[in-house]
Symmetry: C2
Subunit: 215 residues, 2 copies
């Protein structure tokens, strides 16, 4: 975007550091600020009728919630910090103003929105087409760390949150993990290790049309 637009955005913006477990926004609230995670971790969640579910977990450089800001509509999700988190807050009105005047910015917003949209669609396919064990198996395959030769990784979130994200109860996640033992998955605390990727893939049947975060 132009320097002028950038200045305009930055003028009213501020950076704030939040402690863990702070609810940053609540679904239904009006979109006063566009949030950008600089450091730490944020959970997007939604509630209905005394039930709650995790919609996504965000790390550094993720934005939320862009669509509500652009549309000037109420948030559809709530957000809370999972750990000490630093966040940029951009007043929604400034974002809309710059969006209306700076074309390069507007196009960047589209790129970001299109990515978010495709992410949610993939998530929806995952939920609709797979059962809980298949979802867990694919989650593991998606998170395998290329750093250690694709042999394992450390769960970035608590298991109860992972369970909520995968659409199951913590009890069921426990059992699902045990079931995956037959497919070469070993879980010790937050450490996940696999011994036979091919075997796990035979069960998980991953596809880029659901599991590739980039595409």
């Amino acid at each position: 975007m132009s320097d002028e637009s950038f200045g305009r955005l930055v003028r009213g913006a501020y950076v704030q550091t939040f402690p863990p477990a702070i609810e940053l926004i609540s679904e239904g609230d009006s979109a006063d600020f566009l949030h950008i995670v600089l450091d730490g971790m944020v959970e997007l969640f939604a509630s209905w009728n005394r039930r709650e579910t995790t919609m996504a977990t965000l790390g550094p450089l993720a934005t939320f919630i862009l669509a509500a800001t652009i549309r000037d509509a109420p948030y559809l999700m709530s957000a809370r910090t999972l750990e000490k988190t630093r966040i940029v807050l951009l007043p929604s009105e400034d974002v809309r103003t710059v969006f209306a005047t700076d074309n390069a910015f507007a196009r960047s917003v589209v790129a970001e929105l299109a990515t978010c949209y495709r992410t949610v669609v993939k998530n929806s396919k995952d939920l609709r087409l797979r059962n809980s064990i298949e979802r867990l198996a694919n989650y593991i395959l998606r998170h395998l760390d290329t750093a250690d030769g694709g042999k394992g990784f450390v769960l970035p979130i608590e298991k109860r949150r992972l369970a909520a994200y995968l659409g199951m109860t913590p009890e069921n996640l426990s059992r699902a993990i045990r079931t995956l033992g037959q497919y070469g998955v070993e879980v010790d605390g937050n450490r996940v290790t696999i011994t036979d990727r091919a075997d796990l893939e035979r069960l998980a049947k991953p596809t880029p049309l659901i599991d590739d975060p980039g595409h």
Copy 2:
């Protein structure tokens, strides 16, 4: 958008009429055309591992699939006609060209994308937070025709497709309908009538943050 941009878009575009049950696009294909429904009905669906689910049903003036066109990425969903359907096909390259040069068009694309995004998020909440009977109850409440005093409506799609959209089997939809009889829902063929909206709402607990299509 400008007349020039419009001309550019229209130049390579064409309108085509398709018979029922034609697969217009398949997930995984590259996004050659942006589609706009003029008349008729189109089902967006997705498949994995010999399972299939309905993601959405589109009527006149809906577009698909915008995000893939903008990002020049493969379709995440397939689409088929449910009846005789007239569709505008806009070459993706033209859409991207006009998107890059016409600012008003780019902003309209954002508005459309933001709406699509929010629709999918609401859909995801519906699936994650409600069981099948609650989903059906809310579906009925959403579709109550204001025309006939909110007393009923005609199902726009076959029941087996409704079942797939609501994330259940046709057998289960049948039983769910019978269960809703206790809450004043009468279904005769495709005709749905309710006798006690308040009663149904006590079960369905609708909320604009999931069920309001506009917001």
